[in-house]
Symmetry: C2
């Protein structure tokens, strides 16, 4: 079962993401990040690779793209807030973006 992140989980897993450029939207208990790439092809390439992981883990982002920019919001609807899946997908996206 997916569970909402505990206070301990937030300290140990969420804080490093906040240091890595994610921000916490308290109203939705979601995390957000804006990635900027060299151009449209790099931005869409990132989305395509991230989409494969999202589908594999059955955990899908809310995201938008304008040219070289990708805005991502992650939260877990089933628990009405953040879960370990959001942390996992956020970390993966950071790794994928760093390869560009």
């Amino acid at each position: 079962m997916t569970e909402k992140l505990s206070d301990t989980g937030r300290e140990t897993t969420l804080n490093p993401l906040l240091d890595a450029g994610w921000s916490h939207d308290e109203s939705r208990d979601a995390i957000r990040k804006t990635y900027k790439f060299a151009d449209f092809v790099e931005a869409v390439g990132f989305m395509t690779r991230a989409a494969i992981w999202a589908e594999k883990w059955n955990h899908h982002p809310e995201w938008s793209n304008v040219y070289n920019r990708v805005d991502v919001t992650l939260t877990t609807h089933d628990v009405n807030g953040l879960s370990a899946l959001d942390v996992k997908l956020a970390r993966k996206m950071d790794v994928l973006a760093a390869h560009d």
Copy 2:
């Protein structure tokens, strides 16, 4: 040179798009459409295919995705409104979406 759509161009090319589910945002002189697909894989598949055409024509959408849904906004920044490129990309997206 890309030019803003003329009144005649709007009648002949924009009206069919409005009939096909696009709406006209007058404040930005942009067109918008929401596509719904069977699932996330189909939605991202559509975006990937549309992205290749967008890049080929050097005309990029503003778009967002949440699970099976893709919201698209098209306008031409260079002319501060709609051009023939928006019509061309909108038609292509409709064809690509119909294949899903």
